[in-house]
Symmetry: C3
Subunit: 208 residues, 3 copies
């Protein structure tokens, strides 16, 4: 049951990030194959990196076909119904926030299962959440938006930290995952809607 829930969270996050990867590819004139490659990279890089770091080889995204299937589905949707997706650009932004929440809590939970220190489990939850977007942006040559976007990585860390705290305090796992996921989504929501953000490095005001 627990295992099924985590797999569903992982696949949901994969689908949403694969959508974002395919849309980035479309904007850069890639052919249908480039679209699929970017969909798979964006949807799975975070989870693959997490699995390599915790020693879970081969990574789930390589060992199970479902991750590839979900990524290709997202790629086809963007490729063939792009106008549809484009018209609902804001919708994708919200999907992306949901995907970040999915990945952050699933990543933290899996790291705990593999026996990592709680603090690093929270960090790995964050890595799972932001990894796919980072690779997507690097492949199309942009400074990763997760390094710039307001409260993006912090929202992922907060959600992952709640899952870890719940685990340490012996709370119900599904409850922790729900609260952690909602907290991540809420922070991202406030950043998008109401401009919540963190202080900038002072250096930026002086040097650039």
């Amino acid at each position: 049951m627990m295992h099924l829930l985590l797999t569903l969270l992982d696949l949901g996050g994969t689908f949403v990030f694969a959508l974002s990867g395919a849309m980035a590819a479309g904007k850069h004139r890639l052919d249908i194959f480039g679209v699929m490659v970017l969909a798979f990279a964006a949807g799975n890089a975070g989870g693959i990196l997490r699995d390599l770091l915790i020693g879970a080889t081969p990574p789930s995204a390589i060992a199970h076909l479902s991750y590839l299937g979900v990524s290709l589905l997202a790629g086809f949707i963007v490729f063939f119904w792009d106008p549809l997706v484009s018209r609902h650009n804001h919708l994708v932004l919200w999907f992306d926030a949901v995907g970040l929440a999915f990945f952050a809590v699933a990543g933290a939970e899996k790291a705990l299962v593999f026996g990592l220190h709680p603090v690093m489990a929270a960090v790995l939850g964050m890595v799972t959440g932001v990894g796919g977007g980072m690779l997507r942006d690097l492949l199309v040559m942009q400074i990763p938006t997760v390094l710039r976007a307001d409260l993006y990585a912090l929202a992922a860390l907060a959600g992952a930290a709640i899952v870890v705290l719940g685990h340490m305090l012996d709370f119900n796992t599904i409850g922790s995952i729900l609260v952690g996921g909602l907290a991540c989504f809420f922070l991202r929501y406030m950043a998008i809607r109401h401009g919540w953000h963190l202080p900038m490095a002072r250096a930026s005001q002086t040097h650039s």
Copy 2:
């Protein structure tokens, strides 16, 4: 015998991609050491990524000296006889197509040996083929050509898929590798010579 054949395919691909990495370095005013680093990165990134993903650690390129030796040889050739290599630029393009074919079939075969699902074995064959070129392009700050070049990644996937199909149908392994490698080369040949290509994402026509 089988093992020897695969090693030869792997080393042949490494040599050709190392040439391409060294040439990219030369165009960006890197010193001799930068040339060697890019030669090694381009020649081995695909194979190292494959080995990490299938859990074959340490990767062949780290465990055996021959990969380093072949990469440095390619780097020296480009560094000291660059005018020679430059004059035969089209030759290198064909070498590159051969290297892609080598890596695609060797990567798929190795993934099968490590017990991966056939579909993912084909995907990993493709990853082996395109990984080196992607890192090379990222290091000199270009959108990876494998994401743009006509039928590049698809040719690698086709070659790898034929090896996997042959394995599932219990065909002769060497025969499958030959047919898969030739198919990959043929597709790439048609893309270079006769402009075969895949449809572009419609988004590109609207947005850019």
Copy 3:
């Protein structure tokens, strides 16, 4: 004792490279979280890559909290006392040279402990030294300076090679590490102060 020495070398290198990552983030207007992410990435990417390649999972930087702590400390220092750090920019350059020396010798020693071939142990020492800076530069979209900077990667390789040679000739390990580290620092010093450099690829004079 030996293990403690290596851990100290590793943490010292992590701290210095984390400083450089945080400063790069500050120049690109990242928020405090982006600063921390770049500090951790620059300080630990080399060691994590080394550990993945030699099969030491989970990598030290994931398994032990101290690496995260040291990275965040460096991030906070740059974020809150940036003017202080900026005024001593040349000091950071020297710290960076010290960090390169730390990582090169620690990386080579760890690879030897894991039973790699001596030549590859030297290469992995170099990878440990230059990996963090490469990821830092990629994340802020610059051609990695380690590919351009004079005698940077070569200094790391020389230091690592001395550690490996000492090991093969059965010299005292601490002595080899000291000599290797000083050699790396000396080469980098001569490159910065007196412009020592390697020959450029001839291609650069013709093409660009």
